[in-house]
Symmetry: C2
Subunit: 203 residues, 2 copies
Amino acid sequence: MNQATGAPGTARPGGRTARVREAVLRAAGDALADKGIGGVDLAEVARRAGVGKTTVYRRWGTVHGLVADMLAEMAESSLPRAATGALDGDLAALAALILKTLTDDRQGPLFKALIAAAASDPEAAAALHRFYRLRIDEWSPCVTDALARKEIPAGTDPAEVIRALSAPLYYRFLVSGDPLDPDTAKRAASATAAAARSGAYVV
Amino acid sequence: MNQATGAPGTARPGGRTARVREAVLRAAGDALADKGIGGVDLAEVARRAGVGKTTVYRRWGTVHGLVADMLAEMAESSLPRAATGALDGDLAALAALILKTLTDDRQGPLFKALIAAAASDPEAAAALHRFYRLRIDEWSPCVTDALARKEIPAGTDPAEVIRALSAPLYYRFLVSGDPLDPDTAKRAASATAAAARSGAYVV
DNA sequence: CTTCTAAAGGAACTTCAGTTCCGTTAATGT
DNA sequence: ACATTAACGGAACTGAAGTTCCTTTAGAAG
């Protein structure tokens, strides 16, 4: 009596289906990290995942589909935020974490590929935006705490502060190609904190 | 007695060669803007440029090669900077200009595609970084003027200020997907000016 | 104007990403 | 445990992106 009209993997998501998904997403992540979007061959991903290529084409269809699913998976996992007791410290900790991610040998290229994928595919873009919305929400409490401590003006938008902190790192990473080092991260943190104190992020 | 070892287009860069390059870069720009990297077929570009596809494959080889050449071409053109007499005004003018570019129906998607291309190809990345290095240098005088007027602390790095201004706009454009509106541009300008005044960009 | 050859162009060919077909395996409900 | 069928997997097929080969056009130099 099953309709089987949904996408493959929806009616029987357990057991083999889940194992296949895990193996394929892992292999796709490896491929993306080292060849970038455009260098990924779904048949190769299937082979490295130990899975039939028909399966990959049927369930994900395109590299963009894989990226969207991978971002959905990544959105599930959570990242513990810092709580140093001061806005500067919390922002510095987050900046350091972003720096570490973007300069990591695997994560850096992977994020670059995911963002590049989102640039040319609406579905991947939606998944990417959702991922970052969640990440930004996870870190906003740093700013809420600072508001509670009266470090920054009432009305300051927490999400805007987190975005302002992240932006310079991503800008160098994706656009200008300037070096990403601990100094850059520290500068991003102190500049954002200064701007926040001056009321630049009050909505 | 010619060696003919250089890339095609180097020995006889004038006349037909130049016309072909112009037509191909234009067609490639159109294709990138409306299909994004990955959706570009070089045979189609050749057809739309009214040029043999062999020519496109021989001179540029790949979409990435075309992107690199396009960025080299774009780096040639110059953009007039604002001079309102105050740092806030100059930065607001630049932010508005970036906003206009990124939200433009043709330029927005084109820049997205160019940046995505740079994410997976070293040659395109080098061309992109060169392009932005030039753009940042063109706008740095805004900050130098502010330094001369003692609006901001001595030792402030002009390029860093321009990057800090650009970053939030590009971050929304490429990463978070948050709306790009005049308010965002104004906030970027005032936040950057405030951070600069506080000495956050002193090297 | 003539020569030389760099660069463009056309068409056939090759290769491989992506599809289709159909048989096999195993997840779910009773 | 059994039946049902969702989902997987192997292999042959297809089409178009990209290559090769050779001919034609036209830019640069004398």
